[in-house]
Amino acid sequence: MMFLKPYGDTLNDGAIQISFSLPHPLNETSKKVSLELALKMGIANPKITFTQELGEGFSFFIIYGNLSHEIDIDSIKTSKVKEPIIDYWDINRLIEEKFNRKIVIVGATIGSDAHTVGLDAILSAKGYAGDVGLERYPVFQVHNLGSQILPELLLEKIMDKQADVVLVSQVVTQKNIHIHNLTQLVELIEGAGLRDHIITICGGPYLSKELALELGYDGGFGAHSLPSEVASFIARRLLEKSK
């Protein structure tokens, strides 16, 4: 068994930094509250290193201390080994062999979200970080619908194009608008009886695989995702499904 805890300059010192504001003026009470919060978090010897009154009725705190929590490293199950990447040539070959047709992909940023850079990074020929996008794969036929597509319209397009895969991007997360939009889309797809006929993937800087699965998507991709990872994922799913 090996326990891990934060490290500043001595093994197991638990050194940790936190910062937050409180909706309370800066005074003895709010200082005490900030320390109590740190203690509740399991931070021993919390020291307020900086305080600032933030205008009226708000205060800001920076605290250092020593975390008493530790994690047994053996208890950590890392989500199985990452699925290995299938390379560009293999993807094209395998899909070609199995399907003998182009796989139809529809992509969009849904709701009021107008951030397209992330979606384009995955779809457009140019790709991302030197990794070519899905449009470059001969076996994929990509329809990038762009931004601010309402879920209803996206469903229409999915049916229209007889899509095999749908890729949706969500960047704005304030008040959980992304959860709202993503859920709505999945429900529409289900309602249309398409759930089993289509691979659903969502992505965005604040999304994760875990969240995606929770929302009912087949896959989810977070910050710094690469097109090749997405292509690989699609290929693997298609081949599994067609078995």
Binding site: S21, L54, A114, K175
Partner: protein, 530 residues
């Protein structure tokens, strides 16, 4: 007060290039003006109604001005201008404009029953009367604001500009007050996503937005009141900003005027490129909105920063410069004085590239030297911000230093959490503190230096300027509309007959009449300005 202190350019730019850029800018702007001068839009009509003071909405929240305008449209009367129609209703029913609009909207009066299609002289006179009274009211509002400003200090330049964007106007107020008390000079309330796509102004005080808070007349008033209170308290006038863009652009300009806004983000090209708003629609709307803002002594800030958010900022820097020149001459054409034209640009080059600081500095000086009389709005790093908030403080420090060194007038402060969320209350504090340090410690740096003959920065600035001139030549040749259609900016193609809101554009009929068109300032200054 917003006039720049910069005398002669540090870059010593070639006169020829500058003159050519100006000539081209004027020519492009004139062509745009000629193309749109016979057009009006549903939102211009609604704005005209709002200038009369019409407000409110039906049960479903649809504003009366929208319903009324739609009625005019379906009655096939719109080409006369809504004011003429309204005047006729008023005349025939002896109601005041607000009543008249509501009655028509609620189908209690049917336009087709009432309207003499060609407005008589008498109707025109009533129209003028209504407009003159409105003009007087609006003038008073404006004077009230300017008088209040004059009783207070205005802070020192560069003005520190921060955003609030909680989605809830009451939370926005808390955050705005906090920022103002900590040293911010300008507060911008960011709009909820996709408001720009709404072909109307939402109604009422709102507490749920996404990535921003709805721009409504009532929200404007809540925030203006809060800021007036803080202004009074600190003795420093706190300026309020909102977005005058999207499908309801001219209406928002009107509300800005009524509710005492000081600055409005106003750039048709942003709507065209990033919201797929039809170019004819929004450039027409923009001209009218700018005339309103000019009348209101409201500074516009343009959105060139967006041009380098999706393409390589170093490579495409000249598109920023070219767009600024066009925007400048479009603004002059709409009656704005140079001192009200807040041209935008940004610190968005890849910070990991060598000499990137030099390139940013060159670009900041370039805009300063090209527009010595205009307030410049400098936007902070966003694209290359990451979840490393500590590094974020450093990039913002570099940005702030360039801001003071090059005498930018409006510094939109970068937040350490840019890549994470709309700002938390403490993020703003940290950013204001960052900027205040440089303002105070390095504020006088701009007068210390001259550039060496061999300066890399000067070379870079001239290169950018010359590339901008070449681009302007192309745009001048094909016209701005075609250039936009062909993907000149941000690599995005927007044909003239596509995009949102195209249906709301119409050709003014021969009997079209709108007295505001002569009341509002226009391009009188154009010829006198450099």
């Amino acid at each position: 007060m917003f006039n720049s202190p910069v005398d002669s350019g540090i870059l010593n730019l070639p006169r020829d290039s500058i003159n050519e850029a100006r000539y081209l800018g004027k020519s492009i702007a004139s062509a745009v003006h000629n193309k749109i001068k016979d057009l009006s839009t549903l939102s211009i009509e609604r704005a005209s109604l709002r200038m009369l003071g019409i407000r409110g909405a039906n049960q479903e929240g649809t504003p009366w001005v929208n319903i009324f305008t739609e009625k005019c449209l379906s009655a096939n009367l719109i080409q006369n201008g809504v004011l003429m129609i309204l005047a006729q209703v008023c005349k025939h029913t002896s109601m005041n404009p607000q009543q008249a609009v509501e009655m028509v909207s609620e189908n209690r009066i049917h336009l087709n029953d009432l309207i003499e299609v060609n407005g008589s002289k008498e109707i025109k006179k009533l129209c003028d009367e209504l407009a003159n009274k409105a003009y007087q009211n609006l003038s008073n509002k404006k004077k009230e604001r300017l008088n209040f400003i004059n009783t207070l200090s205005s802070g020192t330049k560069p003005y520190l500009y921060v955003i609030v964007a909680t989605g809830n106007i009451y939370e926005d107020v808390k955050q705005a007050k906090s920022a103002a008390l900590l040293g911010a000079d300008i507060i911008a309330v960011i709009r909820t996503t996709a408001q720009s796509l709404l072909d109307y102004i939402p109604q009422g005080i709102t507490t749920e937005g996404f990535g921003g808070t709805a721009a409504t007349q009532e929200n404007f008033a809540v925030m203006r009141e809060a800021l007036d209170e803080v202004s009074q308290k600190t003795g420093r006038y706190i300026r309020l900003v909102n977005y005058c863009s999207g499908l309801a652009m001219p209406e928002i300009a009107t509300l800005g005027l009524i509710e005492g806004l000081d600055i409005m983000v106003n750039d048709a090209v942003y709507g065209i490129l990033f919201r797929d708003i039809n170019s004819l629609r929004t450039l027409t709307d923009q001209e009218f909105s700018r005339r309103i803002l000019s009348f209101g002594d409201i500074i516009i800030v343009t959105g060139e920063d967006n041009l380098i958010k999706t393409v390589d900022a170093k490579e495409m820097a000249h598109t920023v410069t070219a767009s600024q020149i066009i925007n400048y001459y479009l603004a002059l054409k709409s009656g704005l004085k140079p001192g009200l034209i807040g041209l935008g640009h940004a610190f968005e080059m890849d910070p990991s590239e060598s000499d990137s600081f030099l390139h940013e500095l060159a670009q900041a000086w370039l805009v300063r030297d090209l527009f010595p009389q205009s307030p410049i709005k400098y936007m902070p790093p966003t694209r290359y911000m990451t979840g490393n908030i500590f590094r974020g403080m450093v990039l913002n420090a570099a940005f702030n230093l360039i801001g003071v060194l090059t005498n930018q007038e409006i510094l939109l402060l970068g937040m350490p959490t840019e890549a994470l969320h709309t700002p938390f209350i403490q993020d703003r504090f940290l950013s204001i503190e960052n900027a205040l340090y440089f303002k105070n410690a390095a504020g006088n740096l701009s007068n210390e230096f001259t550039l060496k003959e061999s300066s890399l920065m000067r070379k870079r600035a001239i290169e950018v300027l010359n590339k901008a001139v070449n681009l302007l030549k192309v745009i001048n040749q094909k016209g701005l509309f075609n250039a936009l259609a062909e993907g000149t900016f941000a690599s995005i193609k927007r044909p003239e007959n596509m995009g949102r809101g195209f249906a709301g554009v119409f050709v003014k009929g021969s009997s079209y009449y709108n007295p505001f068109l002569s009341l509002l300032p226009d391009n009188a200054t154009d010829e006198t300005e450099a």
